[in-house]
């Protein structure tokens, strides 16, 4: 199975009996994924439209992310949501995972840059939704529904994306002395002023990290006032090397270096809950905070589960636990199951693990 066109893919799915596991680069499957017959998108490649002056790019789903990023960089443009650059990863996989890097704190997730999709549903029907314009409220927004759906509703064949100019200047301030909990108020301070912060994170070896981008004079000026603000939390340094690639690619479990023997969890919460979550889980080793401390990565013993306050959500990236914590409430589950049944009536897209708590 290696469909080369959308029509071929549709025919394959109509004939398929499943379970099928849609595979982009296969670089970041969650525990339990990829167990069915593999349906690779590797032959569905190519950028079909790139209009730098309209800030839009359309590409087939199997196009390697690296190819897209190189093309954009040649025009001094980029994907605003800064997707994790795992070698081999495809734009379809990135969108299907709604995989979003540090700049999400300002410019949103992959779903916020996604303008349009084409996909083949479980019945083999080709569906198009959205388009390639910045604003569109024509009909329901299935674009958002497909982003992050991890191939459970259909196989993405083409995505259109809003892109962003690369600002001429970027600067990162660091507070190396801060541990994870102490970094939270510093990150919050940076995000609650007029500095247009485009990254606010924490890493064990580098401490709290704050990024600003823009025109040269403006970045210098903002760096000055922001440094003054952050000095209240510790010594502020200006970093020479770009630490953001670490956050994009090397978070264990979501990135390159798996740590044997422990499970890796990704927790989404309000920043005001972060310190409490770290306290509630004294055995956890913090690996990173991102998105202004509303995202926590930590490792736990293989069979341990994180303790969570009301509203926080956890997903096991590496380990044996399947599905989100807490599990979806009954109404949400009814809606999600209903959608999966409608879009994939024969249940050929293998993904039951996502609903098994």
């Amino acid at each position: 199975m290696r469909p080369e066109t959308e029509a071929e893919l549709a025919a394959l799915i109509r004939a398929g009996r499943g379970p099928l596991s849609i595979i982009g680069g296969g670089t970041r499957l969650l525990p339990g994924e990829g167990q069915g017959t593999r349906l690779p998108t590797a032959a569905l490649t190519g950028v079909t439209l790139y209009e730098p002056a309209a800030l839009t790019l359309v590409a087939r789903a199997g196009t390697p992310l690296a190819e897209i990023e190189a093309l954009l960089a040649s025009e001094r443009q980029r994907l605003a949501f800064e997707p994790p650059p795992a070698p081999g990863s495809t734009i379809g996989g990135v969108i299907a995972a709604n995989a979003s890097g540090p700049r999400r704190v300002k410019d949103g997730a992959a779903r916020d840059s996604l303008l349009g999709v084409r996909f083949v549903d479980g019945g083999g029907k080709i569906v198009s939704n959205g388009g390639r314009v910045m604003k569109n409220v024509t009909g329901y927004d299935l674009v958002k529904l497909m982003a992050g759906s991890r191939g459970t509703l259909g196989v993405l064949t083409e995505v259109s994306l809003k892109i962003q100019p690369i600002p001429p200047f970027s600067l990162t301030l660091a507070l190396p002395e801060l541990d994870a909990a102490a970094a939270v108020p510093a990150l919050t301070a940076a995000l609650t002023g007029p500095w247009d912060v485009t990254g606010a994170a924490w890493l064990p070896d580098l401490g709290a990290l704050v990024r600003i981008e823009g025109l040269e004079g403006s970045v210098e000026l903002r760096a000055e006032t922001l440094t003054a603000r952050l000095s209240a939390f510790g010594e502020v340094q200006s970093l020479k090397d770009d630490p953001w690639l670490l956050l994009r690619g090397n978070i264990p479990g979501s990135g390159a270096a798996p740590r044997s023997g422990s499970a890796i969890w990704r927790i989404a919460c309000r920043p005001s809950q972060t310190a409490a979550i770290l306290t509630m889980n004294p055995d956890a080793t913090p690996l990173a905070l991102d998105w202004g401390a509303s995202l926590i990565f930590f490792s736990l013993a293989p069979n341990a589960r994180p303790a969570l306050p009301q509203g926080a959500r956890a997903l096991c990236l590496q380990g044996t636990h399947r599905g989100p914590l807490p599990p979806p409430d009954p109404v949400t589950r009814r809606l999600e199951d209903g959608l999966r049944e409608r879009f994939d009536p024969r249940g050929i897209f293998a993904a039951p693990e996502l609903t098994v708590a």
Partner: protein, 482 residues
Amino acid sequence: MRMPIPDAGVIARRESIVARLRAVIGAGDVIDDPVEARAYECDALSAYRCPPLAVALPTTTEEVAAILRVCHEERVPVVPRGAGTSLAGGSMPTADAVVLGLARMNAVLEVDYGDRVIRVQAGRTNLSVSTFVDEAGFFYAPDPSSQLACAIGGNIGMNSGGAHCLKYGVTTNNLLGVTMVLMDGSIVELGGPMGEGPGLDLLGVVCGAEGQLGVVTEATLRILPKPAGARPVLIGFDSSETAGACVAAIIRAGVLPVAIEFMDRPCIVATENFARPGYPDCEALLIVEVEGTPSEIDEQLTLIRAIAEAFSPVEFRESKSEDESRRIWLGRKSAFGAMGQMGDYMCLDGTIPVSALPRVLRGIAEMSEAAGLPVANVFHAGDGNMHPLIIFDANRPGDLERVEALGADILRLCVEVGGCLTGEHGVGVEKRDLMTAQFTDADMEAQMRVKDVFDPQWLLNAAKVFPLEVSETRREARRNAA
């Protein structure tokens, strides 16, 4: 405008239905007096109207759930309503429908500046959210021109945007969660700390679904720190095409203004006569606004000036004071009022790729000429959201039909160049029948499956968005089941 034949059975049971509603939310909160109910017979698309069966005005999520349970059991169609400023007939009722008005639900439930979120009831007006957080140095970014009146629930229904969405995005990009009641009365929380939850992004599909999937009762919104300041420039050009090309060049250069607004000559002349903003005599003008501290603004404007100069502008007017800024925006802000002075008008809402701007402006001019109907253009150029205004005389027989035909042709042109039928106003009843220009049957079928899951009986705002023939079997199935 064709609407489905109202359900005679429901109308016949009107009294008992109203009595049941009164029993769950208190007599004073249900309007069944035909004169009073008339206030709910249309939204801002006032050409189409129909008094509803009754109006329910709840104050809590539980009351909304109780109303919906009654309507679900009685198989009564329900039309959610915020402030009724929809320009697409989205909150227009049918004679067998209960209007569920959320205007009384306007409380602020929680604000947390550190987390940069505010949680409000869905009836709260858009502008009052920003006003609430203003003193703390924050604002809520989506700013539709109707923001003084329109409600957050309506904004979510229509996924509304405004002049500043070039930089800050539209409602869906600033919405973190909702409490919503499904048609069967079940209450669900969608979203998560960062917007979408861990499974499917249900919040994403609810936003912009025009009140067809559930009734939003509470919303958690992202609020942002206010920028240090903002300053507009006005750039005049000797042709619309040149102005369009300059927009593309500004975007291409990598400066990201918060707003790029466009006006053509008919619109400039009309606003000049109406509000006297002192605009230059030119074929088209752009208002470009940038944000930051004074020196950041200077840096951006220097760049914009350099770009604009390549297009030999008639004038490049940089605001030097609050008063000048106000005057630059004055004409733009009064444009719709000004056009109203010239005659009746129909406001279109198509979106195009910015690169197609010159071609579409030329196409509109040709079609306008051929139809003998003047068209004025004023719009958010930065994101390609056009609002061509067709000017006509509503009292002249046949004019409205000609206007509708021209409007449809213009929107088809938008789709043809890669754009879409509506950028912010929604489909409602207004553009329902044009959906086939943009979507295949399979595309629409996929959307309607979502409706099937959230509202299997097709009771919520059911005669909107999809062409009536396309949704007919689904709506009929409900009636037969009743």
